[in-house]
């Protein structure tokens, strides 16, 4: 029966040979190769839960009076968007789980993408021939960050209103274009009526489409170029070692899919996230409640908030025109960072003069300078992220936020320098040692003799250490 169906299709479409090759494909197994998969599965969860949410969410700022079941807000005037988000949380069965699962999926999506980026960076997986996929990956990250921000801005609660206000001011700060850009993007002076419906279209249509297409291209390139692998016995630049796609790899990957979804569902049901009913409606946004609540954005925006906080109150004027204060920390700094990120594979190739194709991955220690630079970036990111919640930390530690800010201003320079030096040093130390030394295991070299036979020669301890230490050019 099954075979007949197969024949029916193959008569019309062909492709049995392709199908066979596809099923026989080999995928390397390593825990760190699952990070990208986790991101993919989070995206699937986002689309599924997000679609459900669109059935009930009303992207409109039309003013309504709340009369739902959440008593503290009854009789309060709010936007239809905020009310529908409350209704999803309180009136629709399983609505809250879906909403929270959606939010958690976004957080885990970006987290797994970021860690995946780190894995690709530290192992040098972006080297030729995979530079293109690096570019696609960075674009995926940027679009996903943007879409995450748009997503939590839609609910029109007090917290997201603050986020939008900051986004508006950042847009406004761009020299020459700022005011027109901000008015064009937001539909007028903040808070314009069209923000919510406009951002809704971007959030549920445009950006998801962009992400889906890029994801497709990302995976297609992995398919075409085949995955990288770590060096090890039997692994060379020209072969690929791992599980067959069908059914071993497929079963394991499907298992991972269900486990990722399970974790997201667990978080969605058991771990409260973005309780908008606590924040209250944004409305005119200047409600007195605004002043008492600390405002922290979602984690992937934290570093930007931190940069805004640490940047001193400078505002230079050039010929009577000002360079608005947020422009440098919130436009130039991220712009520079992502430009460097995009260019990294090409910069590295230029500095190391290594333009050979690489299918075997580095371990971090194999490229101490690269690892050092990566660690420095992580350190800056960490300090900015901490600075983004300096008021909370200051409150918890009971010190003045002013002192903390001063400390962070120093740390933002010191931490990356230390991280760079230390990491490079450690990597060099590790690089000098043999690869995964196994205590008490004798090592041998197989030597081909002049007559064409083979002979096994035991290695002296020192020789084995020297031969296996960093091979290839060091970055």
């Amino acid at each position: 029966m099954f075979l007949r169906l197969l024949r029916w299709f193959d008569d019309r479409v062909g492709g049995a040979r392709f199908g066979r090759q596809a099923l026989d494909r080999i995928f390397p197994d390593h825990w760190s190769f699952m990070l990208g998969e986790v991101a993919l599965y989070c995206f699937i969860s986002l689309v599924a839960t997000g679609t459900y949410l669109t059935f009930f969410f009303e992207p409109s700022v039309r003013e309504v009076t709340y009369d739902g079941s959440y008593a503290p807000l009854q009789g309060v005037e709010m936007s239809a968007a905020y009310r529908s988000a409350l209704d999803i949380s309180f009136e629709h069965r399983a609505g809250l789980v879906m909403r929270q699962m959606h939010h958690w999926s976004a957080l885990v999506f970006l987290a797994s993408m970021t860690v995946h980026l780190g894995r690709v960076f530290f192992t040098g997986a972006y080297r030729r021939p995979r530079e293109l996929n690096w570019l696609i990956g960075v674009t995926l990250l940027v679009s996903s960050i943007a879409n995450g921000f748009l997503g939590y801005s839609l609910l029109d609660d007090l917290l997201s209103g603050t986020g939008l206000r900051v986004a508006y001011a950042i847009t406004l700060s761009i020299p020459l274009l700022g005011p027109d850009l901000a008015f064009g993007l937001f539909g007028g002076e903040f808070p314009a009526e069209s923000i919510i419906p406009r951002f809704y279209t971007l959030h549920v249509l445009i950006l998801p489409a962009v992400i889906a297409v890029l994801l497709g291209a990302h995976l297609a390139l992995v398919w075409r170029q085949k995955h990288t692998q770590f060096p090890g016995p039997g692994r060379t630049e020209d072969n690929i070692v791992g599980s067959r796609l069908w059914p071993a790899y497929a079963a394991k990957s499907a298992g991972l899919f269900f486990i990722v979804l399970a974790v997201l569902a667990g978080l969605g049901g058991l771990a409260q996230i973005n309780p908008i009913w606590v924040y209250g409606p944004f409305r005119s946004g200047l409600a007195v409640t605004a002043v008492s609540s600390a405002s922290q954005p979602d984690w992937y925006m934290g570093w930007l908030d931190g940069a805004l906080r640490l940047w001193p109150g400078w505002e230079p004027t050039v010929g009577g025109y000002s360079v608005p204060n947020p422009f440098l920390p919130a436009v130039v700094l991220p712009g520079l960072f992502f430009t460097l990120l995009y260019l990294w594979p090409f910069l590295e190739a230029r500095f190391t003069r290594d333009r050979r194709p690489h299918n075997l991955l580095d371990r971090a220690r194999d490229a101490p300078t690269r690892a050092g630079i990566g660690a420095a970036v992580v350190a800056v990111y960490g300090v900015l992220f901490l600075a983004g919640s300096n008021d909370v930390t200051a409150g918890a530690l009971n010190i003045a936020p002013e002192r903390l800010t001063t400390l962070y201003r120093v740390l933002v320079f010191v931490a990356p320098a230390v991280a760079f030096g230390l990491t490079r040093r450690i990597c060099r130390e590790l690089g000098r040692r043999p690869v995964r030394p196994v205590a008490g295991m004798p090592t041998h070299t197989i030597v081909r003799t002049a007559t064409g036979g083979y002979e096994t020669v035991p290695d002296p301890e020192s020789a084995s250490a020297a031969s296996s230490s960093s091979s290839g050019g060091e970055l």
């Binding site: 399983a94 406004l172 007028g188 903040f190 079963a251 499907a254 269900f258 049901g269 007195v288 800010t405």
Partner: protein
């Protein structure tokens, strides 16, 4: 590694959790139970599948050759040759020029609808709805403010009467001891200790509203910019680049506080030509 029995248990648990989910849903729903059961239902399948695959294949590995990615020279040249067939089009210079003109003007025309995305900023960034004679009312409406409405150390957020929805116009009125006023404040605009500043932070526009009376400072909750109320809202700390603009206050015939006009400088976050 889990045994076949373990795989069976995982699938069975998953199935039971799925049924439980249906029961919870029918009974009216309960977020924690829904999340937990969904987790077990999905996780059971996941754990079972992985366990099963590991039972069958363990960690066994297979090896395959990688394809050579670059094409050979011959197909590359053939491809380029096929591509170059389009030169038959470019031989007619005049026509290609006209085509470029048509496409170019279409692109320019397509730019115009962009203009409809939002109004031109014009002067809106420099103005608020405060006018000479506007009385000061709180957001909920009600009686306009009088010079004695606030006690010493009191603070209230006000809008111009009749346009309470204008965000830009949000203003804090604070009652301070006039004897302590510093240089930066325009003392003529302070009526019986009532001093009015824009509530929109000059950093990125959060509502400034936390008043610490002992240090007479206004604090922005977003990035901790701190303004000295007695000294023209000078920035004491934080990223805000400028003081909060001070609203000129006066009193009308009926004894209500009024604005003597709009803010002397644009309120809120900076834009490139605000000084012009």
């Amino acid at each position: 590694m889990i045994s076949y029995r373990g795989v069976g248990v995982a699938f069975a648990l998953s199935g039971l959790a799925g049924l439980g989910l249906a029961v919870v849903y029918i009974l009216g729903g309960q977020p924690q139970w829904e999340g937990a059961l969904l987790m077990v239902a999905l996780g059971g399948i996941g754990v079972g599948l992985i366990g099963w695959a590991k039972q069958l294949y363990g960690d066994s590995e297979e090896t395959d050759q990688r394809p050579v990615l670059p094409s050979a020279v011959e197909p590359r040249v053939a491809f380029a040759t096929s591509l170059e067939r389009s030169e038959e089009f470019s031989r007619r210079r005049g026509l290609t020029g006209l085509l470029a003109f048509a496409a170019g003007s279409l692109a320019v025309a397509a730019l115009f609808p962009l203009r409809s995305l939002g109004p031109t900023p014009g002067g809106t960034l420099r103005r608020t709805s405060w006018r000479r004679g506007s009385r000061l009312v709180t957001e909920g409406g009600g009686e306009p403010l009088r010079p004695d409405s606030l006690g010493r150390g009191g603070i209230v957020t006000v809008f111009p009467e009749g346009v309470e929805a204008d965000e830009d116009a949000a203003t804090v009125v604070i009652n301070v001891d006039p004897a302590q006023l510093g240089e930066g404040t325009n003392a003529e605009w302070v009526i019986d200790g009532n001093i009015a500043y824009s509530k929109i932070c000059t950093h990125v526009g959060c509502p400034v509203g936390l008043y610490r009376e002992p240090e007479h400072s206004l604090l922005c909750p977003c990035h901790q910019s701190t303004f000295d109320v007695l000294d023209g809202a000078r920035v004491v700390f934080g990223p805000a680049p400028r003081p909060l603009p001070q609203l000129p206050l006066g009193v009308d015939d009926e004894g209500f506080l009024i604005a003597l006009g709009d803010y002397p400088q644009p309120v809120g976050p900076s834009f490139w030509n605000r000084g012009r």
